[in-house]
Amino acid sequence: MKYLYVAAPPEVRPEDRRMVSGRLAGVFDLPVREMKMPAVDFAYDAGRRQYSSIAVLEMTLPLIPDDAAKLLAVTDRDLFVPVLTFLFGQAQLGGRAGVLSFARLRQEFYGFAPNRELFEERAAKEALHETGHMFGLVHCSDRSCAMSLATNIRQIDMKQAAFCAPCRARLARTKGVKA
């Protein structure tokens, strides 16, 4: 039996990790398990004052359990890749590891009052998005599909926490979801 793992470093609150695994459960054709992972402080870049997404992804690879089909790491840290100012998340396309940052999904980041419901909705959409990449899905032109590209928070809010029919069909072909 293979599992879809949701891994979180110490700074992530257990209820946030549980929330993500709960939202992924039942969507993909894999049971979901949770695990802890070490802190990602080593990936901090003082010049950028952000955390290297590539370093975090590389760190997760040896942590992937034998019974894991895919592993999605979640972190509260703000992620970047050298060429881009920030990332909501990153995943190996068709690979086994992905990472999702909660930092820019929270209303506090934009100077607003916290909104738990909105945060959970955004986290669910982006968790589906990065996991979709791990199953080989590329960005979708349907703006309401979880696989559509979001380069700002408004675009995340515009989409739904679900895949469109063509993306679901593609996932079914790669055994990502039940047909």
């Binding site: 890749v81 050298p82 060429v83 881009l84 100012t85 920030f86 990153q90 995943a91 590329v138 380069t151």
Partner: protein, 452 residues
């Protein structure tokens, strides 16, 4: 349709290269990377990248601007985006002056890159569509546009190239749908008459008198309804090429007239007394065996030899099955784009089915088949199911049966004649195909009075 376009990211810093490439791949693009300007040039020679992201500062004696200039020499139409961490007005001006489409400073906002690439792809899609439509409009085929890997077809294309600039008459023979007019256009467009018109006439479509007026024009009052002077196709093609399709179907009188034009390069309009002189190269085509028509007295021998200065016999598709996958994928790419359908591949099983089919309607039938399959396709790949209609229609095409009532001798005659036609009358090759020795073949040719 975005995955058609290939992107090359050029940066000496691997992490820069790979992170941008990975991000673009998530967007569905095919992305390669190069660690230096030299590697980028090498890859540019091998693949047709539409978009380049080139880092401005690279070591090894070839910076981003130099790399861009060399890329543009190889792929003038490529869109190049210069990326730099050290933006100055001077470098930006230099980059834009040397032809960079955009100049961006890293780290860049993901939205900025996404919008930039989308904008470039949108323009490229429009340019591509425009080029397809223009080509379709003018049907400006050149020899290189003809898709084939068949040795006989390659020889034909070489011959087309060689004879393109000559004035000699060409006779193209081949079954219906093999692309006779396309070959004629390729000859016309590859030669020094390309800038002049190529005028096509379907000789089978018109009655004798109409065809005469169509070809040579008529004077005012030449016949009832001729209320003004009209130029014929020969005059319209002056300086260019006239393509006489289905030449085997013209009447004996027109055969005489045509012979005269081809010999003298001059003619009289219907009802006219003034000789009109033209400089026209004639390319004729037919699906019937003209040599046989000559031997049966249906076609003038002198006209046949006048037309047959350069002879091209296009093999039917079933004799060049190796071209079927190539053509099928070529039509898929073009038609999916034209029909606006996101169908990008044909499964192995479907290609096998297409290769086994007999294609009585040749390349035209294959094109129509692919179009029908795309229209009814529900996903992104054409599978065997997409061609279910072929299995229904094609049973006769796949299992050949001789006509009822045919004798063994008649069948032998037809087989020998068709083999000779396929090999352009080559006795040694024909004997090899038929599994008999040359003297036996000579004897049978004589006995059955088969023209060679």
């Amino acid at each position: 349709m975005k995955n058609r376009w290939q992107i090359l990211v050029v940066d000496d810093e691997e992490v820069m290269c790979e992170s941008l490439a990975a991000w673009l791949r998530e967007d569905g693009y095919v992305v390669d990377t190069a660690a230096s300007g030299h590697e980028a040039i090498e890859k540019t020679r091998q693949r047709d990248y539409a978009i380049y992201f080139v880092d401005l500062k690279m070591p090894g004696g070839m910076d981003g601007i130099e790399t861009m200039m060399q890329i543009r020499r190889i792929r003038a139409e490529a869109s190049i985006i210069i990326i730099t961490a050290y933006a100055t007005v001077d470098t930006a001006i230099t980059a834009m002056k040397e032809g960079a489409q955009e100049y961006i400073v890293k780290p860049c906002n993901p939205e900025e890159i996404s919008l930039l690439v989308n904008r470039i792809v949108k323009v490229k899609n429009l340019q591509r569509e425009n080029s397809i439509l223009r080509k379709k409009l003018s049907r400006q085929y050149v020899v290189h546009d003809i898709v084939t890997k068949n040795a006989r077809m390659r020889d034909i294309l070489d011959l087309c190239q060689e004879v393109a600039s000559l004035r000699s008459t060409v006779l193209i023979q081949g079954e219906s749908g093999t692309g006779k007019e396309m070959i004629a256009r390729a000859i016309h467009n590859s030669g020094d008459r390309a800038q002049k018109p190529m005028v096509s006439v379907s000789c089978a479509a018109l009655a004798e008198t109409l065809l005469e007026s169509e070809l040579f024009g008529h004077e005012k009052g030449a016949f009832t309804g001729a209320d003004q002077q009209k130029r014929g196709k020969f005059e319209m093609a002056d300086g260019g090429t006239i393509f006489l399709d289905e030449i085997g179907d013209i009447s004996p009188k027109l055969q005489v007239d045509l012979l005269r034009v081809l010999q003298e390069r001059s003619f009289y309009r219907v009802g006219g007394s003034q000789e009109v002189t033209v400089d026209v190269r004639a390319i004729a085509a037919t699906h019937v065996n003209l040599q046989q028509a000559v031997s049966e007295g249906k076609f003038r021998e002198d006209l046949y030899y006048r037309l047959n200065v350069i002879e091209i016999r296009i093999p039917p598709l079933r004799e060049r099955r190796e071209d079927v996958p190539l053509l099928a994928l070529h039509f898929l790419e073009r038609l999916a784009h034209e029909l606006g359908k996101d169908v990008s591949d044909i499964s192995e099983g479907a290609l096998k089915l297409l290769m086994e089919y007999n294609w009585p309607g040749n390349v035209r039938e294959l094109e129509n088949t692919i179009e029908r399959a795309i229209v009814t396709c529900k996903n992104h790949v054409l599978t065997e199911d997409s061609f279910g209609f072929l299995a229904l229609n094609g049973t006769a095409g796949r299992v050949w049966a001789p006509p009822a009532g045919m004798t063994l001798q008649e069948m032998e005659k037809v087989l020998i004649a068709s083999t000779l036609q396929r090999t352009n009358g080559n006795i040694k090759e024909s004997a090899g195909i038929l599994g008999i020795d040359r003297s036996t073949l000579y004897e049978k040719i004589k006995r059955y009075e088969i023209p060679r």
